[in-house]
């Protein structure tokens, strides 16, 4: 399995699906083969390693493993100080008051801007400027500008997902890939739809980063810091698998794998059952709402187009009209309608960027939340399996008591101790992830309510603005209509 590991036998079983080594992005490679559903059953040749197929190489040096393993060797890798992150993991269910506050009043501004096309033809790509302004001490400067491309964002997300999801942290999903959209941009079409596509993506990337740094653990993560600060970033490879959709696919496969092993979890905690149901409902509701809003955006754009067409037609009618005053009024009407068309277009943008995109983000976030619940189930499964194995070992030992094979007996006793340790770990992991999820979900709910409140308010204000403009335009036209004589 792993090449670099300590002597402790406990490090052998590293069955987490999502793991990465800090130093090398390459190790974060989670190819699809690792997760093929066909081979998820326990293999005979390695009974200890229930998740052999789904294993990734792990380096014991990853510092985040430290709190989970009681006697691991101390890590010594990255220059970034480890202590703040260890704090985050190793704690009681209630987050420090201070940490909670910091979440709400944290001082960091991130903007994604200035999309630039680099290269030509099918190898071209867009580069975005990421500007971070902050007074937080973990950053080396007050203001940093770096250039990043889309696959860099995906790479960041994949690293974060593989590090934190299995612990129950809700890692914000990265924006979706879009082959059609990007192809148009690459091919060099400077038309409206490509411009819109790039703007849509820029906005999505910005929201993604803002959400990511809102999470105190993620904010301090070295990969995030590196992403925001360092001028050179090693290229993320195999981003096909690492896109948001890819991660979600893996999460779903994990869930399937768990289900396939017929884990019937005895849910002792009603809170989790309730929450899971709640999120299932919310998923359905938000999708429905999203569909309605998308329809609104589409129809409002149509309204804008049709208003423009009418304006042109009214202008032609005005030209044709031989009564002078009426002709003038019709031309004025055409002008008003042109202004209104612009208004509709702006409103459609507000519909889209304020509400539709937010809903889309939340639909993806909820999938991530549900994934985290599935992780918990998986963790429980591992714990149960460890318990089963322990029982088997005990039974085997009992049998060996009557056979005169002292070496085998000793081995059996050793194995029992080993599995007792694993059961302990399993239980601890399960409790840990349960704690983390409770905290994460609580925070998520708070943010969600806040986000929606803010967005609804902004949206209503945009509608007010539209109506104000409408009043202005029509009030200017009224005397023109009255002037027809």
């Amino acid at each position: 399995m792993s090449e670099e590991r300590g002597s402790s036998a406990q490090t052998e079983e590293d069955e987490d699906l999502f793991v990465s080594a800090m130093e090398s992005p390459e190790a974060a490679r989670l190819s699809a083969e690792d997760l093929s559903p066909s081979s998820n059953g326990p293999r005979d040749d390695d009974p200890d390693d229930l998740f052999a197929e789904a294993t990734e190489e792990v380096s014991l040096d990853s510092p985040e493993r430290q709190p989970i393993l009681s006697d691991g060797p101390s890590p010594a890798i990255t220059p970034v100080s480890i202590s703040p992150r260890v704090d985050v993991f190793d704690r009681s269910p209630d987050l420090d008051e201070e940490e909670e506050e910091n979440r709400d009043t944290f001082d960091i501004q991130i903007s994604v801007s200035d999309p630039e096309k680099v290269g030509d033809g099918m190898n071209a790509f867009m580069v975005y400027k990421v500007t971070t302004k902050t007074s937080l001490s973990i950053f080396s400067r007050d203001e940093v500008c770096v250039k990043r491309r889309f696959s860099d964002f995906l790479g960041l997300h994949s690293k974060l997902a593989s590090k934190y999801m299995h612990m129950g942290f809700i890692v914000p999903p990265a924006p979706e890939k879009s082959i059609v959209g990007m192809t148009k941009v690459k091919v060099g079409k400077e038309d409206l739809s490509s411009v819109e596509f790039v703007e849509k993506r820029r906005s999505a990337l910005e929201r993604y980063l803002l959400r990511t740094v809102k999470h105190p653990a993620l904010l301090k993560d070295p990969d995030v810091l590196q992403f925001l600060e360092s001028s050179e970033l090693p290229r993320a490879v195999s981003t096909q698998a690492l896109s948001g959709a890819g991660i979600l696919r893996m999460v779903n496969k994990a869930a399937d794998a768990v289900n396939k092993m017929t884990i019937k979890m005895n849910e002792s905690d009603a809170w989790f059952e309730e929450k899971q149901q709640q999120f299932e409902n919310l998923d359905v509701q938000l999708r429905k709402l999203h569909v309605s809003v998308e329809s609104l955006v589409c129809h409002r754009k149509e309204l804008s187009v049709n208003t423009a067409l009418f304006a042109k037609s009214a202008a032609m009618l005005g030209n044709s009209e031989d009564h002078t005053a009426l002709s003038r009024a019709l031309s004025q009407l055409a002008e008003v309608e042109e202004k209104i068309e612009q208004l509709h277009q702006e409103q459609a943008n507000a519909d889209f960027y304020l509400i539709s995109e937010l809903l889309g983000d939340y639909v993806r976030l909820i999938t991530a939340v549900r994934g985290v619940f599935d992780q918990r189930m998986k963790t429980w499964g591992k714990w149960q399996d460890a318990q089963l194995m322990l029982q088997r070992k005990r039974e085997a030992e009992a049998k060996l008591q009557y056979a005169s094979k002292p070496e085998k007996l000793q081995q059996a006793r050793d194995e029992i101790r080993e599995w007792e340790g694993k059961v302990q770990h399993g239980e601890r992991d399960f409790e840990q992830i349960s704690r983390n999820i409770r905290r994460e979900v609580g925070q998520f709910e708070k943010e969600r309510v806040k986000d929606f409140r803010v967005v609804i308010m902004k949206y209503l204000e945009s509608l007010v603005h539209s109506q104000q403009q409408l009043i202005k335009y029509w009030e200017a036209f009224l005397p023109e209509a009255k002037a027809i004589a």
Binding site: S292, L296, L303, N306, A314, I456, L460, L470, I484
Partner: protein, 399 residues
Amino acid sequence: MTSISEDSDKEKVRSVSVDLNNDASLIIDIPDALCERDKVKFTIHVKTTISSFQKPAFSVPRQHEDFIWLHDTIVETEEYAGLIIPPAPPKPDFEGPREKMHKLGEGESSMTKEEYAKMKQELEAEYLAVFKKTVQVHEVFLQRLSSHPIFRKDRNFQIFLEYDQDLSVRRKNAKEMFGGFFKNMVKSADEVLISGVKEVDEFFEQEKTFLLDYSSKIKDATAKAEKMTRSHKNVADDYNHISGALNHTAADNNTAFKKHLEKSAEVFEKLRKLEDRVASDQELKLTELLRYYTRDIQAAKDLLYRRARALADYENSNKALDKARLKGKDIAQAEENQKKSLQKFDKLSESGKKELTSFKARRVVAFRKNLIEMTELEIKHAKNSMSLLQGTIEILNSN
């Protein structure tokens, strides 16, 4: 079965042609109408001081087909060739609401009670809107006739108004007699004939150029206005769905946010109503206006056509006279024909000029009235929207 009585709405509804009931000697309106499946029964109400009518005030029920019969007989009447014949009202079109009713029936099982009630409400509103439109357009037709010095004396018009029994027998007879032949003839060749005429008269030359161009422009404007209105209605529909979806989401949330979501759902519901009103007012004032005048412009073109025919006939009769003089045969007959054709042509030209001049005046007045009313309504709705939105923002802020 739906019926409306529109006393309060009369002023608003009767907007396409103005002041048609200003002559108190013959006042016509349609106060009531009944919709029975596919047929609409209009109740025509007449108040008159003209002695040729049997009673000073009376009502009759009439169907759409009766209006068409009346229009056709007037078109076929030779004497009226020099007049702009008021366009026939279009057939009542309940296709839209009927489709919606169908959808409602199909989707009933998949909707909540509130959604169903809401859709039903919308459906009724749409039905009412179509209803109003069709009543208005039938009413205006009759009023155009009653306010015209010549048409009001038409015998068939009087029969239409007074005959206290079913007109369907007469309708059938008329169809057999004319078979719509003349009408078809007029429609097919008018553009060509009109533009081919060598016009000596400056007035008619101008009118011809104007009408040919205007007719295509106004047709286009009508179509574009229709599309615009439909988009408005779609937006209103979306607000409706969003409101429903917000209510659904509100059901599952904690109390403070639940109220927030419910308030938002409410605002969208109200916005929908406002947007619907904007759409239907725009339709009534703008789209209907354009539709009506598209038809009226066609009627004016028909007049030009008839005059052009008369001119062609006159020119032919001249040629025939020359030929007869050459041959020395039937000269008197030819002279008679020529005189008659000239008379007809002159009569058409004279009355045509009057008609076209008053037509322009009528058009300008109608456009003015409707544009003003539409603008005032747009302002009103926008102000209502704004105060609704601002009120909601205040409430949500204070939470």
